[in-house]
Symmetry: C2
DNA sequence: AGCGCTTACCCAATCGATTGGGTAAGCTTC
DNA sequence: GAAGCTTACCCAATCGATTGGGTAAGCGCT
């Protein structure tokens, strides 16, 4: 069992020469499904092939395989940014699920910019990925119709887009959960930090919240809904706007934990105590939510599971099966910020 | 067998046929450096080739190219987890720098587990990456000597390992910065939340701190250095241990922001006010450090730049140049938690 | 006219694996 | 004992691009 020190990789032909048989036989034994492998060689020969392959550490050249089979076993993943914890965790789910079905995931950042999205998608296609998982869909037009027209297999993740298959959290339901919770706690004057209007996550969470709030008999004006960036800075600014606009709300729902944290900062700056003076509920239940001095209530979405679902959807698409979008159930984690 | 009848990609041969010339001529015009392209065709022909290529959207098949050239233009990146913000940002730097030199980055999570690390590295090699960037090096043996023996080009990132090239923050210096700062503020009884002993980041930051502290005339016993996990939970437990061990320190240096945040939680639980009662300094200056109710002082490391440096190092390695490890300078962000 | 040189190409092998189509030997079956 | 079927293989084309080595035509020069 001497590891030959990385001269050239062992090829099928090497194995065949060593065993005095034809490369095609080796190929069939090593890489075919059981049935067709059976007809290819006697069990004794198959045994010898497998043993030699293991001994010399044969690993098939994926470039050669792809060239011949027209499949790369690569899944392209486009996300706004991996430094966004939500997408990073979804990607972990994707990677794991992809590996289990023999695919590798190949991820890139688009900075949530539609031009960059288009470039990155083309880059992925130039690499000949078998399919795409798109995590930065913009409700106001992006590359999707074009992909569909070109018959390129893809699914969306995190954000949905009407007419295309996606794996998401049921964000509408998540907004409803937040509304029900705050209503139950007796709040009647609330504001929403709504996020970016081009992201379905923001839109759905907001409309879920507002819809449920009104259904419960609550009142919520359009100017207590403030669109904002998803980061702390965005949350801070949005909260400033809310406080400047009129009587302070007794509760704020932010569609993103980071925006919620920013809003908490603003409330403190204005001398308000988060919780008693103004409740705050965030979204995603990122690991820090629970660690804050005043732990943040947050809607928890099953991020890794969403990643795994996206891979399942894409696999079905690749097999030509019709697919239905998946929406996973969120749950609410109530903590001190709204208790 | 799916009937993937989507338009077949245009090949060199297609272009050649269309123009009535030989594929090799097309190849030389489109893919060679200026000099050898010159000899390959007349300017007129070259023009026609380029025009047709642009018109039909020719994009070379990377699998075919790789098969022939034995290079994939793929860089494998192994990190503990992308949901670790530090690595996610470094990866953004890697991706950007790689794209600029015509490479694609291909990233995978090892969960900071040496067996998984080995598996993921082998997976990358099976995909025939041209080189590796390893972000989860363990000081106590890992796959590195094996890679070296097999003459596989690689560089380390974030964590260093004696004898192997790496791009890191100068963590020793970072520890020193923290020590100098706390000493200047008049602290004399300090503790260190030291992180995982297998990570050079933790070891260097700790030894930098302790070394400088002693050089300044300070006293620091071994049992005020507590090794811990890198997350908030780890920080919380470490702080508990510190408080249980004896008189409370007046300052704590945690080698990681998340551990620092955990420690801040524990201090609060014990009725201590972060800052006045016990200063806290973290490391990495992750985006949340500044957003906490009591903003966290933190040593800032140039994460994206470390990522870019790693790519430069690896490129030099691939070109056969000798490389020297890169250590980038940290800076200290002083905030309320230690002011 | 003949020689050498340049220009502008073409030719064919090659990278490693896959796969439809052989075929020779041996065994049944009648 | 011949047709027919299995078994256990082999053969060769193919995927798309690269690259070392041609070569024919045209030109300048003596």
């Amino acid at each position: 069992m001497d590891n030959n020190t990385s001269e050239r990789a062992v090829t099928l032909k090497d194995l065949a020469r060593e065993l005095g048989i034809h490369p095609s036989t080796v190929s069939r034994v090593l890489h075919s499904d059981a049935e067709s492998a059976r007809g290819a060689a006697s069990e004794a020969t198959a045994q010898r092939i497998r043993e030699l392959a293991a001994e010399v550490g044969y690993s098939p050249d994926p470039q050669a395989t792809s060239l011949r089979t027209r499949r790369t076993k690569l899944l392209g993943v486009v996300v706004p940014r991996l430094s966004d914890l939500v997408l990073a965790i979804m990607y972990e789910g994707i990677e794991e699920a992809a590996a289990r079905i023999g695919y590798s995931a190949f991820v890139t950042n688009s900075r949530d910019d539609v031009d960059e999205q288009r470039r990155k998608v083309e880059m992925m296609l130039a690499r000949r990925v078998d399919g795409l998982i798109i995590g930065d869909s913009h409700l106001d037009g992006d590359v999707l119709p074009d992909l569909k027209r070109r018959a390129i297999p893809f699914v969306l993740i995190n954000r949905r887009h009407p007419g295309f298959p996606s794996a998401t959290c049921d964000d509408t339901r998540g907004g409803e959960l937040a509304a029900e919770h705050l209503w139950d706690k007796g709040h009647r004057r609330v504001s929403v930090i709504a996020g970016e209007p081009y992201a379905s996550t923001a839109v759905d969470r907001t409309s879920g919240f507002v819809g449920r709030w009104r259904a419960l008999g609550g009142d919520i004006t359009d100017d207590s809904i403030v669109w904002s960036r998803f980061d702390t800075q965005g949350g801070r600014e949005a909260a400033e706007k809310i406080l400047a606009a009129g009587p302070a709300p007794t509760a704020i729902f932010a569609v993103n934990d980071f925006a919620a944290i920013g809003a908490m900062g603003t409330l403190r700056t204005h001398g308000m105590i988060v919780g008693p003076d103004c409740a705050v509920v965030g979204y995603n239940d990122t690991s820090l939510a629970a660690e804050l001095p005043i732990p943040l209530s947050s809607v928890r979405s099953p991020m890794a599971e969403i990643g795994r679902s996206a891979v399942r959807l894409l696999q079905d698409t690749l097999r030509g099966k019709p697919v239905e979008s998946v929406r996973l159930e969120p749950t609410l984690q109530v903590r001190e910020s709204s208790a």
